[in-house]
Amino acid sequence: MSEQSAPGAGGAGRPSGRLLEVDDLRVEFRTQDGVAKVINGVTYHVDAGETLAVLGESGSGKSVTAQTVMGILDMPPGFVTGGQVRFHGKDMLTMSAEERRRIRGEGIAMIFQDSLSALNPVFTVGFQIAEQFRIRRGTSRAEAKKRAIEMLDQVKIPNAKGRFSNYPHQFSGGMRQRAMIAMSLALDPEVLIADEPTTALDVTVQAQIMDLLGELQRERQMGLILITHDLGVVADVADRIAVMYAGRIVEEADVYDLYAKPAHPYTLGLLDSIPRMDEKGQQLRTIKGLPPNLMNIPPGCPFNPRCPMAQPVCREKVPPLLQIGAGRASACHFAEELVNRD
């Protein structure tokens, strides 16, 4: 469904197809208390011009996956114990540090949830954007400033020229997030990873920022990986969704399929447990219990202690992520039953 082979109007000269592939990635944190298996075989990909939402609750491994992709995971305590991260087919985990550095910013860029701590408080916002042009593109100071102002203008910061020399604390939360988007897009990356970009913002500002991200993505035909826990935001912007639980992808599907007929009991539970503004609900259905301790993940399916459908087989065999139809996959022994029920 989301194989958008023709590059859009703005994406001139961009190769189409698989941009970034994460393949059976495994990461663990070795701490004094023991080994936490944070990522246990995560596979996903993003194509040019497409939005992949990675959906999960805290501790599901969605941010750690992104940090590993960007090469900003703290090592130690983090250790990559297996798998590949391929950008244009080339494994980034075995590259030299210099090669990786070239991809960062120009190939793959990232924006973070907390813009106040992601921006450096002792430099002006303009300097932090212009710096990239000077270091990576070797432009003159004046040219870098001109381009930084253009970037601020593109993310619709009013009076970009005057705002260039403001410090981060002089910006409101929404404006800071815009500045961070400007910074991440300065080197025209092919993939943008947005880690909870609107979680700290109010709803009206959230709508502005999501609009802006969508617009810039269409213009540039970027692949966008949106990491979030918000099922509402995902429904608005995603093309495909990967649902994570305990360091695994438990379901992957087209956005319409996932909301209409979830193929994993965890996804179903999540959809049932959110209050909806357009429905005066009865009592909310909940997912019982708690997510597993990553130092001691239960045998079999990691969701089995909380699953209303669990059978003996679920406690014995880890269900692999299997295709169950066009463009969708589920890691549940009973995925077929779940999708085919009424």
Partner: protein, 337 residues
């Protein structure tokens, strides 16, 4: 007609802004809450929604008597709280309790769960005489769905959702009539949030509690509230039953706020029209003259800069709205549950 358990009249809370270190002078005021009136009826949940900086948390602090209002009254069962004697105030504090947002910082990490939940009994020994306290705490743990045998554990041994249950148990210890919930579920994951919301509903039904439920998540507020007040820059702009606010909003700010909430249904993507607000919320130190929303409002006329719109029922509407041009507009496509 149910009785009003709490009446709030023209409540104002201003914080001075000072300049200078030795010779401090007041150069202005942050008008955090600026003329707020509402009633809380016995047994109901009143939702208070608004974005950051609208004054909803200051409101909760004044309702708790943690802050003295600059002007206006909080009337509990016909008695003005400001005029109470110290002893009467102490008895009042039993009746109004608070559940806080962050379950990680609101519990003392050096106290056991038993001490945390039992601490209110030390201040109000008449509620539970010394010998009976551990038993009472165990009952409370059971009531909020925690294992009573965990009474000797410390907060770090619990997850976020469980800690919020501890916070709720502590608020319930003195058998209050009113609980002010200030963003009680916004720090929790989706699957845990539903558990805590269901618990709050269950407790209300069993104990006949009245809630003031303060939150920024409009879906959560609709789910739990009987009536809803929408705040913007220290004022209530619209108040009504949950149906009135969500299905027939008349204030432009309410309409914009509702339209911006993402609905978890991709099939509504095309049909949804988001009202886009430009700019940021003005500073509460020098709010705009007249209607405070006029700088971001698409309906603004000259009159909006001159006259402060009163919160009143206007022709063609069934609930109070503080807009000169209040008009019904359907925002949320309603699905029968």
């Amino acid at each position: 007609m149910t009785e009003n358990i709490l009446e709030v009249r023209d409540l104002v809370k201003h914080y001075p802004v000072t300049q200078g270190i030795v010779f401090k002078k007041t150069v202005g005021h942050v008008k955090a809450v600026d003329g707020v009136s509402f009633d809380l009826r016995a047994g109901e949940t009143l939702g208070v929604v608004g974005e950051s900086g609208c004054g909803k948390s200051t409101l909760s602090r004044v309702l708790m008597s943690l802050e003295k209002p600059t002007a206006g009254q909080v009337v509990y069962k016909g008695q003005d709280v400001a005029t109470l004697s110290a002893g009467a105030m102490r008895r009042l504090r039993r009746q109004i309790q608070l559940v806080m947002q962050d379950p990680y910082t609101s519990l003392n990490p050096r106290m056991t769960v038993g001490d945390l939940i039992g601490e209110p009994f030390e201040i109000h020994p008449d509620v539970a005489p010394k010998g009976s306290r551990r038993g009472k705490v165990k009952e409370l743990l059971d009531l909020v769905g925690l294992n009573p045998e965990h009474i000797n554990r410390y907060p770090h041994q619990f997850s976020g959702g469980q800690r919020q249950r501890i916070g709720i148990a502590r608020a319930l210890a003195l058998r209050p009539e009113i609980i002010i919930c200030d963003e009680p579920v916004s720090a929790l994951d989706v699957s845990i949030q539903a558990q805590v919301m269901n618990l709050l509903e269950k407790l209300q039904n069993e104990l006949g509690l009245s809630y003031v439920f303060i939150a920024h998540d409009l879906s959560v507020v609709r789910h739990l509230s009987d009536r809803v007040a929408v705040m913007y820059l220290g004022k209530i702009v619209e108040i009504g039953t949950e149906d009135e606010i969500y299905e027939r909003p008349t204030h432009p700010y309410t309409q914009a706020l509702l339209s911006a909430v993402p609905v978890p249904d991709p099939t509504l993507r095309e049909s949804k029209a988001i009202i886009r607000l430009t700019g940021d919320v003005p500073s509460p130190i020098s709010p705009p003259s007249g209607c405070r929303f006029r700088t971001r409002c698409w309906k603004a006329q000259d009159v909006c800069a001159e006259q402060v719109p009163l919160l009143e029922v206007r022709p063609g509407s069934d609930h109070p709205s503080a807009c000169h041009f209040a008009e019904k507009r359907e925002i949320v496509a309603s699905h029968p549950a």
